[in-house]
Symmetry: none
Subunit: 208 residues, 4 copies
DNA sequence: AATGAATGAGAGTTCATTCAT
DNA sequence: AATGAATGAACTCTCATTCAT
């Protein structure tokens, strides 16, 4: 009735709105942790009332579940690549680094989710599934790279995959160390793997 | 009168009580995270009223600070060792593993603290200091081990120290992976370092 | 379902609600003092939950500030009048008396505020400003009344204004004396001023 | 046993201790009001534990009662004087002013008590009794001064006594006005009474 | 005569959630 | 599709009071 009422905002259908809320929630979690996540704040960041948030997500838990799904989705995208196994491996590592550098909130949220998984079976299940997929993918790539002669044949693909995952995940823990230290750890891993610096894979014999 | 009236604890002096409360808080944090830490619950676990908790710790923040101090103390103890640098290194790695296996709450709390450090400058400062000490200690041990001929001379002690820290810290993220996967990552690190399995250090040339 | 479920108030808009809460707070303060002011009680008197009170006033302090403003508003209304200076003066005195007789809570709250001003700079500032306005107004009226020949020319308008304020304020101290004694004090003041009883101003020479 | 333990402090018998606690309470009330009166604080100011305070005063109410008695005692002392009625009157006014200037806490406590009397029948009774005594004393002095020819014969001793009490009591309300304004009010009262400034009583005809 | 330790009963405040509109 | 208003339940923290020593 009154002329100053909000423009209809027809652009956003249900999914757009949900997506916007999830993104706002991710930002909030990255900044304040699950501990500091407030539905009111999330809604406000999208320009909505809290009550409206509950129209899209019945409970806070549901919103968090949305966050979990989105985080998984973004992370999974770093695994998509083509080329030789060695290339795909190298590209994956780089993609993870880029993701964490360009969207630091994703890393923060992953860390929070990892901790939350200790108390929340639903989160635990999803994270575990994702980790299994990730581990299997890495292991397969490592094996193929070994078979292709790009990596040392004695390499324990299971164990190396686990170490790679560990190192990447660690970048999600904020002040575990300075950013430089994280990079050092990461490069050391690459060195041992034979991916020295920017260039092509080093000779396989550098790995055991 | 009533038989279930709790007998007042006379045994504990001030420090015992504070310690008991800190330990209860650690257990609570490990189980429910900072998010789920409730002063009433902590007090109840020691058999006390909330008001009494505030008699020992003026605020919840002070209690958390006590938790931080205790976690640091326990972690620092894994660095105390003697023997050759290579032995001290090996013992340190094992001590951390034992600590995390025998007192899983400590790991959980470390993880929580690491995340909290992103928003709490006080926690960040303490964690950073501890990490600096840790890094310097590891680096020195690695250098000496290289000088002693136990590790490959090309080894970048800075970077390897960072990778070691990363791998150990990662054990604090609960369901990042199954326990086996964590062990794999850890053993792979030892392998690259030349500490294969239970025995003596492998020849230095296994490291680059 | 249950018949005693309170019907939600739909009548009141935001300002009405705030006003209702302030009035309830005034009544509470009058009855129990600032010492006994409980947000829960105030909310209940308006038929609301405590949480809802905090929806309108973020903190208890903000509510008290609302009380302060309202008390000042009501008191200020006793100064609004027209007629000759002598009439305005007389009417003001009567208005204050009526106010205190008809809304004794206002007097009680004024007394509480006066005491609180000793520790609360914000209250102190507002009260002081109001007193300054009051004093200036009274002084001006007295001077004009002298000029008009209604009051004795030797009268020290500053000092008489102060004494008038003092006498009126004192009516806010509950059992300083019996109501009769307060009236006596007040009438004695009027007598000295030349406003004897109900009627017109007495000849100016009765004042010094 | 240990040499540094507190000196026995034999000086203080039960009454001394109670007195010390009451005085500390008066200071606290003057500074923070009844609202901010904390038994712990009072005890600490005397160098005692809270529990010990309860040894001397079973409840907080009992302590407040002690404060009330002490305040009354101090105030009563301003009425003790000798000389002609006019002198006694003048001296009483001066004594009250001195008391309030030299022991401002007493004034503050009187103000607090006056307000509290609205809710606390015990306080109300005592205050009322004291006020009755005060009023009777003033009235008798005024009558005698009239009889002696020091004050105007038409003077309504009841009403003037009430106005005097009102003016003096008002000095207990902190920022009702600036100190100067209080003095003005007080001096105006003296002027009307015929006690101009420091000197002797003015001729009786200045009063009506 | 004195105290450290303990507590029950609240206080103000926060927040996810609901509901009429 | 959206919201203002409302709430229950819970949280941290406070304080007068008690009690064994």
């Amino acid at each position: 009735m009154s002329p100053e009422r909000r423009a209809p905002y027809r652009a956003g259908n249900r999914e757009n709105r949900r997506q916007a809320l999830v993104e706002a929630a991710i930002d909030e979690i990255a900044e304040r942790g699950f501990e500091g996540l407030r539905t009111r704040e999330v809604a406000a960041h999208v320009g909505l009332n809290v009550a409206t948030l509950h129209y899209y997500f019945p409970t806070k838990e549901a919103l968090i579940r949305g966050v979990l799904d989105e985080a998984m989705r973004r992370f999974r995208s770093t695994l998509v690549a083509d080329g030789s196994p060695a290339d795909r491996l190298r590209n994956h590592l780089r993609a993870v680094r880029s993701l964490l550098r360009e969207q630091p909130q994703v890393g923060a949220v992953m860390g929070e989710l990892a901790l939350r998984s200790a108390r929340d079976p639903a989160v635990a299940r999803i994270l575990r599934e994702m980790n299994d997929v990730w581990h299997r993918t890495l292991r397969a790539l490592l094996r193929q790279a070994v078979r292709d002669g790009h990596l040392a044949s004695e390499l324990d693909s299971d164990a190396v995959a686990a170490l790679v995952m560990s190192t990447l995940m660690n970048m999600c823990l904020p002040t575990f160390a300075s950013p430089e230290r994280k990079d050092q750890a990461f490069r050391q891993l690459e060195r041992w793997l034979g991916f020295s610096g920017t260039g092509a894979a080093r000779p396989a014999q550098s790995l055991s």
